[in-house]
């Protein structure tokens, strides 16, 4: 039982560490914003294509 629990804890720790490693890398190297900066021009094109009812 103890070994089982330790195993779960160990896996949990690995998950947490893995989560930390991935997210911290994303955070520190600003990957989220770099990706956003690259996606933004594509989104602009999407919004440009939408029909609008311009009216003053």
């Amino acid at each position: 039982m103890k070994k089982f629990l330790l195993g779960i804890l160990w896996k949990l720790l690995l998950v947490v560490l893995g989560f930390f490693a991935v997210t911290f890398t994303m955070y520190f190297f600003n990957l989220d914003m770099k990706a956003t900066a690259m996606v933004a021009p594509l989104l602009e094109k999407w919004y440009d294509r939408l029909e609008r009812k311009q009216y003053i």
Binding site: T23, F24, Y27, F28, F29, N30, D32, M33, K34, T36, A37, M38, V39, A40, L43, E44, W46, Y47, L50, R52, K53, Q54, Y55, I56
Partner: protein, 513 residues
């Protein structure tokens, strides 16, 4: 000319010394995030996770996804973490925590505002029952006239805040498209870009359409007043949303305008009652009034801390929180009270430890201008690069008087005058209108009170801030060094260049533009 003692930070600062080096000019975001030492970097990382969770929870609602792909301004909210990076440049310890605590709360509040807009929006959520209890107001509108309505029954939607004001803070190029639209329809390019962008959004049909009625206000400038006409026409003619114009006197220091202002508040309340079917509740009002007073006391304490040699409240994040609390909340949301006290506690802690947030403090500045310093990161560059400490800004210098907060027959009549007073003393308007006494004499008083030796004016509109400045300089020769930058929403480099010139020019009283 007045000078202040230079203070050298005795404690070495962990991490980056030159935050500018980690900026990626091509992508306009940072090449990597700032290293602030283990403890503060980890704290910043956890706050980043929190922001992602706020955004993640928002986008998991299907109608919000629909809204995201309908409204161009929603794209800006992908840049929220970038905005937070901008507002924490060089910060450590308590100042970092103050920035995150205050601005994360604002972000959560704005996210909720967007969700509310989409819920009622005829094009997205189309929850008619909800929309029928919504009152739309301007971005720059003081919502005192809603203080006596139960928040669960009548919803105040500051429609322009998520659409223009907040989105532009995260993504400076967001408004360019709307400015193009406005100018394509004939509005000149030389007016203030804020109301012009709002008019452009209305012309482009990029506002959420909801609400049983709308209340507009002659807020802070002629441009803002006039832009309302274009927006109101669309609300009224196309969407059939009745719109009330709440007129607020400009010469707010004159006692002979008070009766008019109070009557206008009464008229606005009657209008909301008529269209929402809800009644004004004095218990709700006086509970909100107590919270307004509590926030005022906290703000006075904050100013006192920033008047000492070791100021703790830095930058746009904190100012924006104050604005949101004072104007967009006006005591209606009890959650602000907890945040107010938490912020004050952090500041007291930092002050006792004589915490400094740059290598040295060379000058103490009052930032006297309108919103541009929120959009650009000027304040952080000032302190980190040149040791100029921004003590407070014009938009944060607001009412310090207490209002009646106990329910008596006399106080019920006084309440209209209090609401009118708060409305007239709204951010920006309380200094941009009312003559040079509030525009400039107040500034010089503040310089003396806060022991400032420099004044920075940043403005996107000549009519508001810069124009009377030079004329009044001879009146108070002892006051300060002074520089003025014209900083529209996307002119970071221009304003920082001007600051560099200002600080490197010796014996200069004023730099000509």
């Amino acid at each position: 000319m007045k000078t202040v003692e230079k203070i050298i930070n005795p404690v070495p600062r962990a991490g980056e010394q030159s935050p500018g080096k980690i900026y990626d000019e091509k992508l306009k975001v940072r090449a990597r995030r700032e290293w602030r030492g283990v403890k503060d970097t980890f704290y910043d990382y956890t706050r980043w996770l929190y922001l992602l969770s706020v955004l993640g929870r928002f986008i998991m609602v299907p109608r919000n996804v629909k809204g995201f792909f309908r409204y161009r301004w929603m794209m800006s909210y992908l840049f929220v973490p970038h905005g937070m990076d901008k507002f924490t440049i060089g910060l450590r310890g308590e100042a970092l925590r103050i920035a995150h605590t205050s601005f994360n709360f604002v972000i959560a509040d704005v996210t909720q505002a967007i969700a509310n807009c989409f819920r009622g929006d005829r094009r997205v959520g189309n929850d008619k029952a909800y929309s029928d209890k919504c009152v739309i107001t301007d971005e720059n509108s003081m919502v005192t006239f809603m203080m006596g309505f139960d928040r669960d029954k009548v919803h105040t939607i500051l429609r322009e805040v998520p659409t223009m004001f907040a989105s532009n803070i995260f993504h400076q190029f967001n408004v360019m498209h709307y400015l193009d639209i406005a100018q394509q329809y004939g509005i000149p390019g030389d007016v203030c870009p804020m109301p012009e962008a709002e008019a452009g959004i209305s012309i482009e049909d990029d506002f959420c359409v909801l609400g049983c009625c709308a209340v507009q206000n002659n807020t802070t400038c002629d441009g803002s007043l006039m832009g309302n006409g274009i927006i109101a026409k669309r609300l009224d003619r196309e969407y059939g949303i009745p719109t009330f114009q709440l007129a607020t006197p400009l010469r707010h220091k004159e006692p002979d305008v008070m009766d008019y202002a109070a009557q206008e508040i009464k008229n606005a309340i009657a209008f909301v009652e008529k269209h929402t079917g809800e009644k004004w509740d004095w218990d709700v009002y006086f509970a909100a009034a107590k919270r307004v007073n509590d926030a005022t006391r906290c703000r006075i304490a904050q100013m006192e801390i920033n008047s000492t040699p070791y100021p703790q409240f830095f930058g746009a994040a904190f100012s924006l929180y104050n604005d949101t609390n004072y104007m967009g909340n006006s005591g209606r949301d009890p959650n602000f009270v907890k945040i107010d006290h938490k912020l004050l506690k952090l500041a007291e802690q930092g002050y006792k430890a004589k915490r400094m947030y740059a290598r040295e403090y060379r000058h103490r500045a009052i930032v006297w201008g309108v919103q541009p310093q929120y959009v650009i990161d000027m304040l952080y560059w000032m302190v980190q690069c040149w040791g100029v400490v921004p003590l407070t800004d014009m938009l944060s210098v607001i009412n310090t008087d207490m209002i009646a907060d106990t329910d008596t027959p006399e106080n019920r009549e006084q309440a209209y005058r209090d609401m009118a007073m708060l409305n007239m003393e709204m951010i920006m308007r309380n200094h941009t209108h009312g003559g040079y006494k509030v525009l400039l004499d107040d500034l010089w008083d503040l310089c003396e009170k806060m022991n400032a030796d420099a004044r920075a004016a940043s403005t996107s509109c000549g009519s508001l801030t810069t124009c009377a400045t030079r004329a009044s300089l001879p009146a108070r020769p002892s006051a300060t060094r002074s520089t003025t930058t014209c900083a529209p929403s996307c002119a970071r480099s221009r304003s920082t260049r001007r600051w560099r010139t200002f600080l490197t020019t010796k014996h200069t009283k004023e730099i000509a533009i």
